[in-house]
Symmetry: C2
Subunit: 148 residues, 2 copies
Amino acid sequence: MPQNATSSASKSQTGYNLDEQVGFILRRVSQRHLAIFAEHIPDLTSTQFAVLAKLCEVGPLSQNELGRRTAMDAATIKGVIDRLRLRGLVTSRPDPGDLRRITVLATEDGRAMFDQFSQAALAITEETMAPLDDQERVAFLTLLQKLV
Amino acid sequence: MPQNATSSASKSQTGYNLDEQVGFILRRVSQRHLAIFAEHIPDLTSTQFAVLAKLCEVGPLSQNELGRRTAMDAATIKGVIDRLRLRGLVTSRPDPGDLRRITVLATEDGRAMFDQFSQAALAITEETMAPLDDQERVAFLTLLQKLV
DNA sequence: TCAAATTCATTCGTACACAAATAAAGTTTG
DNA sequence: CAAACTTTATTTGTGTACGAATGAATTTGA
């Protein structure tokens, strides 16, 4: 009997096979998604677009709050905002009610950029999900949501 | 009628809602997975462990080939191997048959490290998938695989 | 057979991602 | 009210991730 009863993939004695682990597959799916993203929206990274989209969706937010809503920690959101500000897509002003806070908002240019690319962003989602039919997409999103 | 017919989440005029996009959910699931990883295996990053696992699984490989098998580009795999080598977990030697190539292999310590943590790595996969029952896990992995 | 194309490893630059430490501002509570 | 705690933003350091450029080695194909 051959060394492996379950599949063609090799396995160590301990039963660990990299190619079967969720984390590894998850990373590769993310890579594919980010490649699709860069094809459709080469001007912005996916994280930059996420921040811009969130600002356009809900309006001005403090930097930390914005980070929370886009799933970025304080250090990360700062860098993203710095780069967006450098390009004139967002501005910030002090919060009059709380001297610790910085309120971040999209500029005219930022809004224009979001409007310009929001359709492309939907196309990115579509292309990422392209290998699945409609039923599978619903099922996949439902399951994926449970893993957050 | 309120502005939104489909759900409680807000939507822009263009129909783009960040929280519904696969890419965004994918990123958050990856974040959760990496947090679980770091809890179980604080000594190595998931990418470092992936490289070590692949080397223990298939034996010595050229640096580029190793990168291909672990889904890392040439620049990324070099950094990962440099850090693993610095810690004595892998070594490398020139390929006699091809002067461009560097053959990378796990050291004794590297193998020991993999053996020590391979069970933990399986527990990481288990914990990542914990919100799903057995049927859902199979379904999820099948669908996720299609998106690579 | 020799020029063109490809592969391999390296380097540089940019951009997340997060831990840990810090300081200032705000909140809670004894 | 003051001490203790929390929140906010910043900084530093480490580690992916990838595009682009480079040079050396190998393969190819006319």
